[in-house]
């Protein structure tokens, strides 16, 4: 399968340790994060993470499912980046 850059949009609870948890989940599987930005949303208890990861569709699907399994992750969406 083709490796492409995927942009993951994660909405997470704004709590200590959540960023480390998300990043660790991705890096611990040997996938390199190309770009990462974290910022607040209008709801101060929710943060948004934009994560660019390279991988084929199967890998990205697995990462999204694992992210969704995290207790602090509210929602994950993804799209291919050109």
């Amino acid at each position: 399968m083709k490796e492409e850059i995927h942009r993951l949009n994660c909405y997470v609870e704004n709590k200590p340790g959540v960023l480390a948890r998300i990043v660790g989940l991705i890096s611990g599987r040997g996938y390199n994060i190309q770009t990462l930005s974290v910022g607040p949303t209008e709801d101060g208890t929710v943060s948004r993470m934009k994560i660019d990861v390279v991988g084929d569709d199967k890998v990205i699907r697995q990462i999204i499912l694992q992210l969704n399994n995290q207790v602090n992750v509210i929602e994950v969406t993804s799209r291919r980046r050109a």
Partner: protein, 579 residues
């Protein structure tokens, strides 16, 4: 620190109260500087406290308790080395989906990050081996955190949860109360099958000519063993199980294919290979089961039901993936399954069973075969004991030669393959199920990893029989070296007096059987027996098990015995080796 008022309690007391509210009946643990305040509350606690001898042992005890009871195991350890010693235990539970709540002490908050004495970043360290972890920053958070930890440990795919509590938080006062209910904003693991999924499930089964049920630990966790049997009997579908699934289907049933995978029966592996429909229930298609993925179940459509969305399609593409509780799905689907006979298919399977049984031959008339030990225990306990294994050859022989017939009666570290699991997990299981006979089956290698926990069974007068199958080597490592590394037995032979460093032993040796495990068991206060003579095997095992006391049986067995059949890792089913 807040001043105490009449309704207030310390964080430590609040923790103990919260654990009780969460349903804790037994707490396994080991004290230390950062949890002294909690330990100070334990003499009045409304639950039993069991003192282990190493924090890894404490977690394995909680794990064995949880697997035997179907309720979360709870443990309590101190900060720093106490916390880091739990990691192997947590990883073991994480892989096998076992609910555990592990409380770790932490240095006071104003010392966190200062390299304080016995400080370790526990929430950081345990991240990859737990389902979730909390660092509690205020005593007010304790009741809610405990409630959430139990909820997370037991909902969705179960797993271990760590609560790290700094010492100053334990000493602070709070009036926080245990919540009536838990509501987590972002974690809603419950998922049910849609009616179209159920309809498709039934249709695939009703159309199948060569169906196989492939049942795993999820069936046991879900309490669905009866429903699996209903499905199997309704449409005469043979049932293969994973290591974690042993006991999910009665192996005395003619439809039982028994263990599938690397050391599974030929019938199970051949059936999966030739099947046109795999009904995978509560499994994750581990590499130990599938062998070469590209060649796995090539002729089959696959239905996969599991509570973990991430396990569906992870290793094997499936035709119908259902994220739901196995029992819930089968309760609905079973009524739509038409009765079938599958006579030709079952005849073919019976032929495989006859031609390739799981069996062994004695290698020397005066030397006990390790498989015979398992058969003896099965005979003495009439197949009703809770069997707890360690990891290695004896584990596979236990999987093969017991006639598993009840859920939660075969407890084994499947995913992580943790040597040292057996002794402490058996203690946890015996405490969880005092009405059952508990037998631990260990090897000499794994037994030495957590031998110190034996004294806990003696202290609490637990009627557990610990059996060590002693082949004076790390049998599974030795087997791989014999088969795949040109018989270069590097590092796998135990108990050789006067050994060389960096040895490469090519011949069978005279072993010294060091340490003397029988004497070691006696030193721990257990009734200890050593068996060398095949004629005395059954009687000794019967005496030990029927004594109702903590007993230890060391059986000296044939060191060259291997586990067969074997489908070597990454090989297709055609690569199975039988002797």
């Amino acid at each position: 620190m807040k001043k105490q008022t009449t309704q207030q309690a310390t964080g430590a007391q609040t923790l103990v109260d919260s654990l009780a509210k969460a349903g804790t009946e037994v707490l396994f643990g080991y004290p230390g500087g950062s949890v002294l305040d909690i330990f100070n509350c334990l003499p009045e606690a409304p639950f039993q406290f069991i003192l282990g001898r190493h924090e890894q042992g404490c977690v394995h005890m909680a794990d064995g308790y949880a697997r035997a009871k179907g309720k979360p195991g709870v443990c309590l350890v101190t900060s720093g080395p106490g916390a880091t010693n739990t990691i192997t235990g947590l990883a073991t539970a994480h892989m096998d989906g076992v609910p555990i709540v592990c409380i770790t002490g932490q240095v006071p908050m104003d010392q966190i990050g200062t390299d304080a004495f016995q400080e370790a970043d526990m929430t950081g360290i345990c991240r990859a081996v737990t389902k979730h972890s909390f660092l509690v920053q205020s005593a007010d958070e304790i009741p809610e955190t405990v409630a959430e930890a139990f909820y997370i440990a037991t909902h969705g795919k179960p797993g271990p949860v760590v609560i790290d509590i700094p010492k100053n938080v334990q000493r602070a006062f709070t009036s926080a109360q245990y919540p009536e209910r838990v509501s987590l904003r972002a974690y809603h693991p419950e998922s049910t099958a849609s009616s179209s999924q159920m309809a498709r499930f039934a249709k695939l089964v009703n159309e199948a000519k060569r169906p196989v049920i492939y049942a795993g630990g999820g069936v046991i966790a879900s309490g669905a063993a009866k429903d699996v049997a209903n499905l199997a009997h309704r449409a005469q579908i043979p049932v293969a199980t994973t290591l974690m699934g042993l006991g999910a289907f009665d192996e005395n049933d003619p439809l039982a294919l028994r263990l599938a995978g690397m050391h599974g029966s030929a019938a199970a592996n051949y059936a999966i290979n030739e099947s046109d429909l795999i009904i995978a229930l509560g499994v994750r298609f581990s590499d130990r089961v599938t062998g070469k993925l590209a060649a796995y179940a090539k002729r089959a459509k696959i239905i996969h039901v599991d509570c973990d969305p991430a396990s569906i399609g992870k290793n094997v593409p499936v035709n119908l993936g259902i994220v739901a509780d196995v029992k819930d799905v089968l309760t609905t689907v079973n009524s739509r399954i038409k009765s079938a006979e599958h006579a030709a298919w079952l005849a073919k399977i019976a032929e495989w069973m006859k031609r390739r049984p799981v069996t062994y031959k004695p290698m020397h008339p005066n030397v006990i075969m390790p498989q015979a030990v398992i058969e003896a225990v099965d005979k003495v306990t009439k197949g009703r004991a809770v069997i707890v294994t360690d990891v290695g050859q004896h584990q596979m022989w236990s999987a093969q030669f017991f006639r598993h017939n009840l859920p939660r009666h075969f407890l084994s570290s499947g995913g992580m393959g943790t040597m040292g699991f057996g002794i402490p997990a058996a203690i946890g299981a015996a405490i969880a199920r005092p009405d059952h006979t508990t037998v631990a089956i260990c090897g000499d290698g794994g037994a030495q990893m957590t031998f110190e926990e034996l004294v806990v069974a003696v202290e609490h007068k637990l009627p557990v029989t610990f059996i060590v199958i002693n082949n004076a080597c790390l049998g599974m490592v030795r087997q791989w070296q014999e088969l795949f590394y040109g018989k270069r037995y590097s590092g796998s032979i135990l108990s050789v007096r006067g050994r060389m460093a960096n040895e490469r032993l090519e011949q069978d040796l005279k072993y010294d059987y060091l340490p003397d495990l029988t004497k070691l068991a006696e030193a721990h206060g257990a009734d200890a027996y050593r068996v060398i003579d095949p004629a005395k095997l059954d009687a000794t095992i019967r005496k030990a098990i029927n004594s109702g006391r903590t007993s230890f049986v060391e059986v000296i067995v044939e060191p060259r015995a291997n586990v067969y059949p074997m489908q070597p890792g990454g090989q297709p089913v055609e690569g199975m080796i039988f002797e």
